[in-house]
Symmetry: none
Subunit: 138 residues, 4 copies
């Protein structure tokens, strides 16, 4: 369901989230779309020799879950993305279950701008990404 | 090829870039991975009635091209992503040819941190994304 | 957003729908998952010689949009699918924008069973699939 | 191979079947095509807390295997799908090996209609889907 909340209906403190287990096929398709075939993501043998031991999920794939929440829940359809800041805090592995959560921090009435805190954590409640989004919504 | 440049070899001013035409299947697979089925991306009929007239490419798919350059060219394989800031400047449509370019702005010797300017432009040299990346590279 | 409505909250006459343009990549991935490489779906040359002139979308791919509405909107998450009846009424082509709509026809209190009318139409409001779904929802 | 049997060659009692192990990537791609991100299918963490303990395969993905047999074996290429009735009898999990089987029940000469019994069972011979298909074939 694509939510579609109007600027006027949104309040500071409103929250929304979405969860998904990241599969190997997600990582491989993401590599295929973007061309990011960094061996940390698609080479098991190479990964075994790194400090992580296992293949990592691309940071930008993880970060993209924020945009899903923004574009389908809060504010929802026809949100215009102005900016996103992403801080990668901890590694994400194939098979991790991620939850992306956004929370409205500020509304700028004149330009219908909304600033949101954005955070992603894994199945162990470990924070893997923090950041801020700025969007425009009529 | 996956480049793999050592911290010591990298100089302020070094540049790298990568280009790709974004296909409809890229956008549909990205929607399928992330769950972002916002009608602006996957509904032709809806898009025709928007100011853009056509289906837009997800901003985070566009932005992910930066991570491809960082992870496969400069600095290359085993780069650790610390943060990414993305400013979405102009709409990207299915069929646009994007070039993501990164340029080394600063090196922080003690922690092997590299700061890069990151920019993406389309086939008409129109800038669609600007921002900054911070990475760590041995 | 995955809705999750309780049996008690759902009323006869409740409706939900979802829309999407079916891309060539959707049809090709569906063929790849199911193995249904019928030339009507994946052979342009063959299709040109049929009465339809163009490649058709698999009926079951079209029909699957109903299950998306049932499982993510009405009744939403953790719906148990009991049965689905699908009547294929008109051809669907690559590039068509489909809307799947479900409407609650009947509630059977004792077993928490819900019967829904299910319909899919294209961008020209032409009905392409009709049918009925039976689901169980706590 | 895509079989293509003429109406006249097909006899009541004719059977055909096809088998496949359903992978995690099948389920994820199906979610990606249809937008059905119900957590029962794509959230390991959530699924562990359900009565099933594991992620389920979408019912319509399972059911689609019937259409593959109809469209590629019996009757084969250029079959026109009139209707499909699906009864979901038992859960299907990622990694299950399914066999979809169709059997001709009835031929209606005047309109070249064929009615088939359709059944799907898993690697333990447990029936997971039953139903009936009606197709038209020259």
């Amino acid at each position: 369901m694509i939510a579609d909340r109007r600027f006027a209906e949104i309040k500071v403190g409103d929250k929304a989230s979405q969860s998904k287990t990241i599969s190997e096929s997600d990582v491989y398709l993401f590599a295929g779309i973007t061309g990011d075939f960094n061996p940390m993501h698609v080479n098991k043998d190479f990964s075994r020799k790194t400090v992580y031991k296992k293949r990592l999920v691309h940071g930008m794939l993880t970060g993209s879950m924020i945009s899903t929440v923004l574009g389908t829940e809060l504010p929802g359809g026809s949100t215009i993305y102005i900016s996103q800041e992403l801080n990668f805090r901890a590694p994400v592995f194939i098979g991790d279950t991620l939850t992306a959560e956004v929370e409205v921090l500020e509304k700028r009435e004149e330009k219908k701008i909304i600033v949101l805190n954005t955070i992603i954590y894994n199945q162990n409640q470990k924070v893997v990404v923090t950041g801020k989004a700025v969007v425009k919504k009529d």
